[in-house]
């Protein structure tokens, strides 16, 4: 009898299970952002509502390298953010956009974005996920529209598969596209330069680099604060107004006169790859950048940063050593990482 009851019960369970919907579980491989030792925690968790997964990252990677995201299919994100240049535009003051146009600001390197609260030189973008909307739609960049982009993505079966892998409902929509892009760009990190290796005890500075580091700590670190080499603040560093663009920087966003000519302090990581320098790429070399802080700061500007009122005293020898040190911030691991290369 007992056996019969057991069999019946088993039968019941079997039959019952037929009525429970069996969806194949949506498999996601979760990834974690590296917080290098000794680094501060990011100000916000950029992946709080966008869990970082291998599947999302790979979709973002394909999108990042896909020139069809622009109006004439000539300009991908990677067109202006080149891996070999730490995801800046190599050797360009301005990047090129649709119909032979120029951007109005120098493309910044993309790395350690998880530590940035505001994006763009003027901090106008408040979240990594919405940043691509600017280059997508700007007439002098990718010059397209969201409906146009989504139409192209929906027509491509490769994307159908990738969106399905990355998101439970597999929908190809702007939110998923932007979240996937954020997973890719937010994962780009730079923490393997010679400087980092020295800090970890895996390498050592030359005499000149060590002297340059001392000068850096004394003269530069209050704004370009290690280990990120920026404090992510907005400051006026005494460059004259660019008369062509009349670009007032942060003031464009806040409408506050006190923010006139303030721009975000850029990270100095990978600085040897991101020339020319400053928000409009007007300074061609590191030596000339140091010369600006030594000799050319316009001290008459009312919004000039307090720390620059007397310019910065750096001797010729210190300048040479400082440049040696700045070159140690180049991260070859980042620029060669196969994970960030164009997918096949």
């Amino acid at each position: 009898m007992k056996i019969k009851i057991t069999i019946s019960l088993l039968l019941i369970v079997l039959m019952a299970s037929a009525f429970i919907p069996h969806q194949p579980p949506h498999k996601l491989t979760y990834l974690k952002l590296v917080i290098p030792k000794g680094w501060p925690q990011p100000p916000t968790n950029i992946f709080a509502t966008n869990p970082l997964t291998e599947e999302g990252f790979q979709l973002g990677r394909k999108l990042f390298y896909d020139a069809r995201l622009s109006r004439d299919s000539n300009f991908s994100c990677a067109g202006c953010h080149q891996q070999f240049a730490a995801f800046a535009t190599y050797d360009h003051d301005f990047s090129h956009g649709f119909n032979n146009s120029f951007t109005t600001r120098n493309a910044p390197g993309l790395f350690n974005i998880a530590w940035q609260k505001e994006l763009h030189w003027d901090g106008g973008v408040n979240h990594i996920e919405v940043q691509p909307l600017s280059p997508f739609t700007a007439a002098n960049e990718m010059a397209t529209t969201l409906p146009e982009i989504l139409k192209k993505l929906k027509a491509d079966t490769a994307y159908a598969r990738l969106f399905k892998n990355a998101f439970a409902d597999g929908m190809i929509n702007s939110q998923h596209m932007l979240k996937a892009l954020a997973q890719f760009t937010g994962s780009i990190q730079s923490y393997n330069s010679k400087y980092d290796k020295v800090k970890r005890g895996e390498d050592s500075f030359t005499v000149s680099e060590a002297l340059g580091y001392k000068t850096f700590m004394a003269s530069c670190n209050s704004c370009h604060r290690e280990p990120l080499f920026t404090d992510n603040s907005f400051r006026n560093n005494g460059l004259p107004l660019n008369k062509k663009w009349m670009d007032k920087g942060r003031m464009t966003i806040t409408g506050n006169l006190a923010d006139s000519l303030k721009f975000k302090v850029p990270s100095l990581r990978n600085i040897s790859l991101t020339f020319p320098y400053m928000h409009d790429g007007r300074v061609v070399s590191l030596g000339k950048v140091i010369d600006h802080y030594r000799n050319s700061i316009d001290t008459a500007q009312p919004t000039l940063d307090m720390l620059l009122k007397k310019r910065i005293a750096i001797s010729d020898q210190e300048k040479v050593d400082l440049i040696s040190f700045l070159l140690t911030l180049k991260d070859d691991v980042l620029t060669h990482d196969p994970r960030f290369k164009q997918p096949n």
């Binding site: 019946s8 039959m15 019952a16 966008n50 408040n126 979240h127 919405v130 969201l146 932007l178 966003i253």
Partner: protein, 250 residues
């Protein structure tokens, strides 16, 4: 001895064959909020010519605004809010002008909502649905939602092609253009229950944009497309454009 087991089997089969009780009958929408845009004292017809209170002529080709964070207050002072309450009212899309949701039964006296999108959603990255940037209501160069968008023409406008263009946004500090609206429900309290649908029809009179808290004329300010003091004044004006036209129960 087979019998009890068989009974059990049949019993369980029946149980599992029944539809799952996940659809809570109580969650059926029982309230509908509808918006009708007006130009002065007549319903707005896009591209028709109207005169505002200053006798300036204008026509509207595009009118969109966010209604969010809808809540209703009961006669015992309890607020019940719609979940995930974000709606884009678009004059050109009749389906967008009304939305239904569920409210616990009770006697309600006050309706409240935001015109615009709360600051949190302005800083929370890519959204979907009503908040999808696809809806052309998101600024890309200075992140944030356009709370209210009205475009058209006016012979009194000195702007290019006689445009009038009001893109009102800004969500923080002095530039905050998000406004809270509170409307008393006429003939209060309104009994909302599970057996009928209560429709609250709201009139939105765009003429108020030029004449409420402050005087604004098309001749002087035909265009506003950035956050700031002017956007704040326009928002303060259009905050007064809503009133309850009628309440219908069916």
């Amino acid at each position: 001895m087979m019998k009890p087991a068989l009974c059990l089997l049949i019993f369980f089969c029946v149980i599992f064959l029944l539809p799952p009780a996940t659809v809570n009958a109580q969650q059926q929408p029982n309230i509908k909020i509808s918006f009708i845009n007006y130009a002065g004292n007549q319903p707005l017809v896009p591209d028709s010519l109207y005169a505002n209170c200053w006798k300036e002529n204008y026509s509207v080709s595009r009118l969109k605004y966010y209604i969010s964070n809808i809540a209703l207050q009961t006669s015992n002072q309890k607020w019940n809010a719609e979940q995930n309450s974000y709606h884009l009212v678009d004059e050109s899309d009749s389906l967008s002008k009304n939305f239904s949701f569920y409210l616990p039964s009770g006697n309600y006296t006050t309706l409240s909502f935001l015109i615009g999108v709360d600051s949190l959603k302005n800083v929370s990255g890519a959204q979907t649905g009503a908040l999808d940037p696809l809806n052309s209501m998101f600024w890309t160069w200075n992140s944030g939602y356009i709370m209210f968008k009205m475009e058209g023409t006016s012979p009194q406008s000195a702007a290019v092609n006689n445009k009038i263009e009001y893109h009102i946004g800004g969500f923080s500090g002095v530039d905050n253009a998000v406004k809270k609206i509170r409307l008393q429900l006429a003939g209060i309290p309104v009994a909302i229950n599970n057996k009928s649908i209560t429709e609250i029809i709201i009139r939105a009179n765009i003429d108020k944009l030029w004449n409420a808290a402050t005087v604004l004329k098309i001749t002087e300010t035909p265009v506003c497309t950035i956050p700031g003091p002017l956007a704040g004044r326009i928002a303060a004006n259009y905050t007064t454009m809503f009133d309850v036209l009628k309440i219908v129960q069916r």
